[in-house]
C-alpha cells in the first residue's frame, strides 16, 4: 500500500511518504486506530533511509495524523486531521476531470497540462502562504 517515493523528482522523500500515508487514510486503505508499518521494516521494504521514514512519521504525528506509541509503533489517529469525506474526494476528482477536459479542448497536450499543474503547485503564492 505504501510504495517507493520518486527519489529523483526533487521533492523531498519524507514529504512524499507523508502524502502517501495521508492518501491511504483518505481512501480508507488505512483506518483510524490501525497500525502503520514499523520504521525499520518500512525502510527495508522501500529501501529508504530509516531516518527519513522517522522524519515522515514525526511530522505526521506533529500534524495529528498518526500517534507514535512508545514500544508499540505508529497508529492512525482516531481523529485523523485529514479525514476528508469520500464525497469531497469524488467532488475534487470531478473538478480535475472537467478542467483537464477543457484544457484538452483548447488544444493543450497532456504534458503541457501536467506542467501547468506542477508549476502551480510549486509556485510561491503572492502573499505569504505555505510552500511545499
Amino acid at each position: 500500500m505504501l510504495f517507493r517515493p520518486n527519489a529523483s523528482s526533487g521533492l523531498p522523500i519524507y514529504l512524499q511518504l507523508m502524502e502517501q500515508v495521508k492518501h491511504a487514510i483518505e481512501t480508507g486503505a488505512l483506518r483510524p486506530g490501525e497500525q502503520l508499518p514499523g520504521i525499520r521494516p518500512l525502510a527495508e521494504q522501500l529501501v529508504m533511509n530509516p531516518n527519513t521514514v522517522a522524519k515522515a512519521y514525526r511530522e505526521l504525528e506533529h500534524e495529528g495524523v498518526i500517534e507514535l506509541r512508545q514500544g508499540s509503533g505508529a497508529f492512525v489517529s482516531r481523529n485523523a486531521a485529514i479525514r476528508r469525506a469520500p464525497d469531497s474526494l469524488r467532488a475534487a476528482q470531478s473538478m480535475v476531470a472537467s478542467t483537464v477536459q477543457r484544457l484538452r479542448g483548447r488544444g493543450l497536450g497532456d504534458d503541457e497540462i501536467r506542467r501547468l499543474v506542477e508549476a502551480e503547485i510549486a509556485r510561491i503564492p503572492e502573499k505569504g502562504g505555505r510552500r511545499g
Partner: protein
C-alpha cells in the same frame, strides 16, 4: 542528529608535488547519517578518504574521525579499527575462498556478526567455496561489504559500492546498507557517481569540486531550497543580473531565461515578475541537476 560529528575536516589541504588535490576542505558528517559524497573524477574524493583513514598525510588543516586526529599514528590505528573502507581496490586475498576470507577477517574482530554473515551470504549470492580471484569485481565488492558489515564497523566508507552490479544486485547492496543503519547507530560515507542511489538513501550530501566543498547539507533542505525558475519573454530575454544571494546560475537562450536558485527562489521570482515575462514556471530540481548547476557555477 548533528550532535556529534563522525567526520570533521577544517581547512584540509593536500598537495602532491605541483598538484593541489585538496584546497581547504571543510567537511562535516554527523553521526547516524548516510552522507553522499559527490564530485567529478579528480575533484579530491579519493584523496579525502585516504586522509581520513590515515593512508596518506594531509599537507595542512585538520581532519578528525570519531573526534580523533586522522594524522596521528595511534589515533589513526584506532580509526581504522572502528571504520571500514569498501572500495574497488580492496585488499582481499585472491587465493583464498570466500569462506576462508570471512574466517580470516572474523578472527580479528570479537563481536563478529555471524547472523548477519549468513543473511548477507544469501542476499549477496556469495558461495563459500568460490576462490576470490574467480569473483567478478562486483562480487568482490559485495564480499568486502559483507566483511565490513559483519565486523560491526561504526563508520562505513564506501567508494562506488554498486559499480558493476546489475540493478537487482545494486538494490540488495542499498537494502543491506539501510538495514545496517536501522539496527544500530552507524554512519555511512558514500562516494558514488550513482546520483539516483544517493538520492534514494542519503540524508546528507556533500559536493566537492577542485579540492573544496561547494555544497553540503541535508538532502531534504537542498531539495526544498533549489528551484528552477523558467521565464519566457515576448522579446529576447533581458540581460539582467539577478541580484542577491541564492542565485546559482542564469541561462539565456533567445526568449527563454532560466535561473537556478538555491534559496527557495522568492527573491528571484520577485525580480522575474518585474521584467514582465509571458510565462513564469517554478519547478523543483533533482540532485543530478543540482550537481551540474553547482559545478558549472564553479567553472
Amino acid at each position: 542528529m548533528g550532535e556529534s560529528l563522525i567526520i570533521e575536516t577544517s581547512g584540509l589541504r593536500k598537495t602532491f608535488g605541483e598538484i593541489e588535490a585538496l584546497r581547504g576542505l571543510d567537511l562535516q558528517v554527523p553521526a547516524g547519517s548516510i552522507c553522499g559524497f559527490l564530485g567529478r573524477n579528480g575533484a579530491g574524493k579519493t584523496t579525502t578518504i585516504k586522509v581520513l583513514l590515515g593512508l596518506i598525510r594531509a599537507t595542512g588543516g585538520e581532519a578528525r574521525v570519531f573526534g580523533l586526529p586522522a594524522g596521528e599514528e595511534r589515533a589513526s590505528v584506532e580509526i581504522r579499527r572502528r571504520a571500514a573502507l569498501v572500495s574497488e581496490a580492496e585488499d582481499l586475498y585472491g587465493a583464498m575462498t570466500v569462506e576462508q576470507m570471512i574466517r580470516f577477517t572474523a578472527s580479528f574482530f570479537p563481536g563478529w556478526r555471524s547472523d548477519l554473515q549468513a543473511r548477507l551470504l544469501r542476499r549477496f549470492d556469495l558461495r563459500s567455496g568460490t576462490t576470490i580471484k574467480r569473483l567478478s569485481q562486483g562480487m568482490r565488492t559485495r564480499l568486502a561489504l559483507l566483511l565490513a558489515l559483519c565486523r560491526g564497523a561504526e563508520l562505513l566508507v564506501l567508494d562506488e559500492p554498486t559499480s558493476g552490479l546489475d540493478p537487482a544486485a545494486a538494490e540488495e547492496v542499498l537494502q543491506a546498507l539501510v538495514t545496517y543503519i536501522a539496527e544500530e547507530p552507524k554512519t555511512i560515507f558514500l562516494c558514488s557517481h550513482q546520483i539516483a542511489e544517493i538520492e534514494q538513501i542519503a540524508d546528507r550530501v556533500a559536493i566537492i569540486d577542485h579540492g573544496r566543498l561547494v555544497l553540503s547539507g541535508s538532502l531534504d533542505a537542498l531539495q526544498r531550497s533549489f528551484r528552477r525558475i523558467s521565464m519566457v519573454f515576448d522579446r529576447d530575454a533581458p540581460a539582467v543580473e539577478f541580484r542577491g544571494a541564492g542565485v546559482a546560475r542564469v541561462r539565456r537562450e533567445g526568449r527563454a531565461l532560466t535561473v537556478f536558485s538555491n534559496d527557495g527562489g522568492d527573491a528571484v521570482l520577485d525580480q522575474a515578475r518585474a521584467l514582465h515575462p509571458v510565462s513564469v514556471e517554478v519547478a523543483p530540481v533533482g540532485l543530478k541537476e543540482i550537481f551540474f548547476e553547482t559545478i558549472a557555477a564553479e567553472d
